[in-house]
Symmetry: C2
Subunit: 105 residues, 2 copies
């Protein structure tokens, strides 16, 4: 088994699809993650967030965001630092991210 050594796959900018992005953003837990990342340019380990789900569920959500092209994930020790792919998203869908983040909670 390869386990955690599997390279973290990220779609290139031109591989990002709007339906995948919208689907990724349409879940409450994932939207909370995105909101948290929006205020942390340098990225964070999503495990520090209190989202009311287990670690395995959190893994599932972060992977969904990563595979959709919403976040970039880089290993750092035993942690995974996630950050918003803001420039890619703004280039592809100008206004989308700002609009989503403008929503009252």
């Amino acid at each position: 088994m390869r386990g955690m050594t599997t390279l973290l796959a990220h779609p290139e900018r031109d591989e990002i699809r709007i339906t995948a992005v919208l689907h990724a953003l349409a879940d409450p837990v994932r939207l909370q993650i995105v909101r948290a990342l929006a205020s942390k340019e340098e990225g964070i380990s999503c495990g520090v967030l209190d989202l009311g789900v287990t670690a395995s569920t959190l893994t599932h959500h972060v992977r969904t965001l990563r595979e959709a092209g919403v976040v970039r994930v880089r290993p750092q020790g035993t942690a995974r630092i996630s950050s918003l792919r803001r420039s890619d998203l703004d280039a592809l869908y100008p206004g989308l991210l700002d609009g989503v983040l403008a929503a009252r909670q």
Copy 2:
């Protein structure tokens, strides 16, 4: 049975929720509908669109869009005229709709 006389329920602007909107937009068929409506300010009968789904499936999608607050539907004869709730969406999530529509197909 009430049938088609059931009043078409629409959420008020302040009842629209971002997760419902994103979920509504995240489906390929519904996104095609939204794209079509974006170029028709006065609205259209969605039945005229060739989306590759049956009429009953189309009804399901239009209802999803309506209940999410993305479109407004008004009866006109035997038809249902759907139009984008652009001012509501722009007020709630400025840039979101434009960003989504900017996506290359």
